[in-house]
């Protein structure tokens, strides 16, 4: 799980061009949207592509996604359960 969390931090920085952030700056339990990482719902569209391309997970429903994208840790937990690649 910790490896997946570290991988996700790097992927998110790369996907969203967050060049000013380093993986160690990101707390796995901080909120991804709003206060924590400060991402917005438009950024979520890129996370959805990341989920599909890298982990083979197709998310359809925004309300489901909200819980999954709460923090890096919740994302990692969901991925480890549902990944198809």
């Amino acid at each position: 799980m910790e490896n997946l969390i570290e991988e996700l931090k790097k992927e998110i920085i790369e996907t969203l061009n967050l060049e000013e952030l380093k993986p160690e700056d990101i707390n796995a339990d901080s909120e991804i949207f709003g206060e924590g990482l400060g991402l917005d719902s438009i950024d979520a569209l890129e996370l959805i592509v990341l989920m599909e391309k890298k982990y083979g997970i197709k998310l359809k429903d925004a309300s489901e996604g909200k819980a999954i994208f709460r923090s890096i840790r919740t994302m990692a937990e969901y991925i480890s359960k549902h990944r198809t690649k």
Partner: protein, 140 residues
């Protein structure tokens, strides 16, 4: 497989678009870019009404403009609009405004649009009609 979809639209600078410094006012340009988007949409079948008739809106959520050189009344510029393929549920365009007399680039810009349904709820996934459109143009 990917191709580049591109269109060119000639602009007419209105007298009223020029400011007290005798150059086209910076706030005018988003309208030029929108004209180019509409032109592109009509050319390739991704116009606002097609989007609307499929049950969606496509609002602009990001607009980035770099002003390289001024445009003045009487100049004959064109907008070159290029569709940038993206896997996310977005429409991304790159723009260049070029003075057709000197061939100089006067502006570069990028816009990002997302899809909402008619209740203005953000679409997380590419609408089917948009995926079909991409396929029809060999973009995926």
């Amino acid at each position: 497989m990917s191709t580049t979809l591109k269109a060119e639209k000639l602009l007419t600078i209105r007298f009223s678009e020029v400011d007290s410094m005798n150059v086209v006012w910076h706030g005018t340009y988003p309208l030029y870019l929108e004209d180019a988007r509409e032109y592109f949409g009509a050319l390739y079948g991704l116009d606002y009404m097609t989007i609307y008739n499929n049950g969606y809106f496509a609002p602009i959520v990001e607009l980035n403009i770099k002003y390289h050189k001024p445009l003045r009344y009487g100049m004959l510029p064109k907008v070159v609009i290029t569709y940038r393929p993206t896997e996310a549920a977005k429409i991304v365009f790159d723009y260049e405004i070029i003075d057709t007399t000197t061939n100089e680039k006067t502006l570069t810009a990028t816009s990002v649009q997302i899809f909402t349904d008619k209740n203005q709820i953000l679409m997380w996934d590419n609408p089917t009609f948009y995926t079909e459109w991409k396929k029809a143009h060999n973009l995926i």
